[in-house]
């Protein structure tokens, strides 16, 4: 129905034709669709989140066996918010609770990767199948990545000495009413939306331009099956783009429509969300460069492998 309304507006009311009409139609259709989905999904996720805070996750990860802990940590990563500014208290707090560093890394990989903005955008742009594949393989990277880091005995690279606590954690209990939870979700959604809506417009705008003007052959040649290094380049390009996920993803959708392979697109989006330079800079205060490099290396390799796997299968 929304599609028809936009068609009516651009074709019958504005009489736009050809490339311009196509670009304008695409721009209006996509921007509003993505805005709508972002608001709905962020609201739903942030409501769910009022039930799980990081302190809760920590208490539940305490004393779990290695692999089970990795799986649980990756799953918790979906529902808990992540802000790179609390990476340090999170990391040290987990050590304090005697949670193995491998399990902590599973959480640190999964949480930013499965953030609500990325999920909303993926769902809106690519549909539920690609979203499910993204979340599924994202979890796999988080579980295996954390598991391998845990196996490498890298505890000595933690630069801060944290005394492990005795006994079990006492859960901090903060009681909220449903009304408070709704209000909190509303505030959070408004805050996130305000900070990203413009990126969506810019991303879709550039996407609309490509959609209307740049021929498919051009993109297929550089990002399609003909370029064996496309996945690698996509991952390297994705690392510095963390804060712009909202603007980058609409672009990726257009590129896949024009011949970029889906595996390459998936790798790129995972690199954008999971590997962020600001987070690495923050973690550098408490972790040795070797450990951070291992973290980036393992996650990077995992993401690249997923990209090639998908390009190969599909």
């Amino acid at each position: 129905m929304w599609k028809e309304s936009v068609d009516y507006l651009t074709n019958d009311l504005l009489h736009l034709e050809g490339h311009v009409g196509e670009a304008v139609n695409f721009f209006i259709y996509d921007t509003v669709k993505i805005w709508f989905l972002l608001i709905t999904i962020i609201f739903a996720v942030s409501y769910l989140r009022t039930h799980f805070n990081t302190e809760y996750v920590r208490a539940h990860l305490q004393g779990k066996s290695q692999l089970y802990g990795n799986v649980l940590a990756a799953l918790f990563g979906i529902v808990t918010p992540f802000c790179s500014c609390s990476a340090i208290p999170l990391f040290l707090g987990f050590i304090q609770a005697r949670i193995p560093i491998g399990v902590t890394f599973s959480f640190l990989i999964s949480s930013p990767m499965n953030n609500e903005i990325a999920i909303a955008l993926l769902f809106g742009l690519f549909g539920w199948k690609v979203t499910a594949v993204y979340i599924g393989f994202g979890l796999l990277v988080a579980i295996l990545g954390g598991f391998f880091i845990g196996r490498m005995k890298m505890e000595k690279y933690i630069l801060m000495d944290v005394k492990p606590m005795e006994g079990e954690l006492e859960l901090i209990k903060i009681k909220l009413t449903t009304k408070q939870r709704l209000k909190e979700s509303y505030n959070y959604t408004a805050e996130i939306f305000k900070s990203i809506y413009l990126y969506v417009v810019i991303g879709v705008g550039i996407g609309a331009f490509i959609h209307g003007y740049i021929p498919a052959d051009f993109i297929a040649e550089y990002a399609g099956a003909e370029n064996p290094f496309a996945v690698l380049v996509a991952v390297l390009m994705g690392i510095p783009m963390y804060s712009n996920a909202a603007g980058v993803m609409p672009l990726v959708e257009v590129l896949t429509g024009k011949g970029m392979l889906l595996g390459t697109a998936l790798s790129f989006m995972m690199a954008v969300t999971a590997l962020s330079l600001p987070e690495a800079m923050i973690l550098k205060k408490i972790l040795h460069v070797k450990l951070i490099a291992t973290f980036f290396g393992i996650v990077g390799l995992g993401i690249i492998a997923i990209g090639y796997l998908f390009n190969f299968i599909l």
Partner: protein
């Protein structure tokens, strides 16, 4: 009454501290405000997501920036 804002200096922690200052002014109460930025002290409160808010030694909020009214409600609670 003693209010502690737990945070290592991230923008959200500063935002919460400002909200707390305004809430204190609005409440008209005599409140001691302490900014805790030592990570070891923050961990003693079992808080792993900053900013955290502690009133009279009890953790009342973690990982989010509260509005002035929300803080005011907690002060008056």
């Amino acid at each position: 009454m003693k209010i502690e804002v737990l945070g290592t200096g991230c923008p959200k922690c500063i935002a919460l501290e400002n909200a707390v200052k305004q809430a204190i002014a609005k409440s008209g109460k005599f409140v001691q405000l302490v900014k805790v930025d030592d990570i070891m002290k923050i961990m003693e409160y079992q808080v792993v997501s900053t900013p955290g808010l502690v009133i009279d030694g009890k953790v009342v909020s973690t990982g989010k920036v509260l509005s002035v009214d929300e803080v005011l409600a907690l002060i008056n609670a």
